[in-house]
Symmetry: C2
DNA sequence: TTGTTATATCGTAATATTGCGATATTAAAA
DNA sequence: TTTTAATATCGCAATATTACGATATAACAA
């Protein structure tokens, strides 16, 4: 075992969960926030900013890139990462649909 | 290794990430959606609904309970789970703060 | 009491994730 | 061309997660 049984869930549930999962690591939250705060692209400034090794950050960047939330463009000998606004808006929409549902419980729990 | 270095991140980043992490599994997304759709409490109906073993579901419920998003009350010989509306609203707020930030990039990425 | 039912917990195997050093790769600089 | 700088990838050790059978626990039913 140790293997998530994705087959038994809907595509939507799997997609939403895997988005949540990518954001479920403080380094990736920090990276996203850093990009957003900078209001600009970043290269491996992050290696200095966060306290993680270059290889580790590269790996986290890759995971974020896989979701499409960020994109990287080669810029001379460094790589420029920034938020893909189109995908970001889609992600926003997906989360808002999930979180802003009305949760009205016929409360049997006191 | 294999150990997240939480010390190097802010409390906020750690908290947000761990919330995301809990929701980062399709079974837990499905459980939450089921409770929300039922607009009522649930017991282990889930064991029939999802295709997971009772022990597994119990474990997922525990993780959701740990975040406070759901609460369980003993009701005779079964347990009644439902959304804790107060916590749910807090979680909504946290996610909204994160996702509804303005992401304005001085786009150097074409 | 003795079952029966609903749920939790334990133990464990399979798999996934995290982190990093070492090593590629690629492009500018000297 | 050689060096240097920035980033990616590989391989691995440490740890975490997922899933589940087996077993415990607790409450009602007979």
């Amino acid at each position: 075992m140790g293997l998530t049984k994705s087959e038994i869930f809907t595509d939507e549930q799997n997609k939403l969960a895997s988005l949540f999962k990518v954001l479920g690591h403080p380094a990736r939250v920090a990276i996203l926030q850093y990009i957003i705060d900078q209001k600009a692209c970043i290269c491996n400034d992050l290696v200095g900013e966060l306290g993680l090794a270059q290889a580790t950050i590269s790996q986290h960047l890759k995971e974020l890139k896989n979701t499409g939330i960020i994109q990287g463009t080669i810029e001379g000998k460094s790589v420029c990462y920034c938020i893909d606004e189109k995908i970001w808006k889609q992600v926003q929409a997906a989360f808002n649909a999930f979180f802003n549902q009305e949760v009205k419980v016929i409360s049997c729990c006191p």
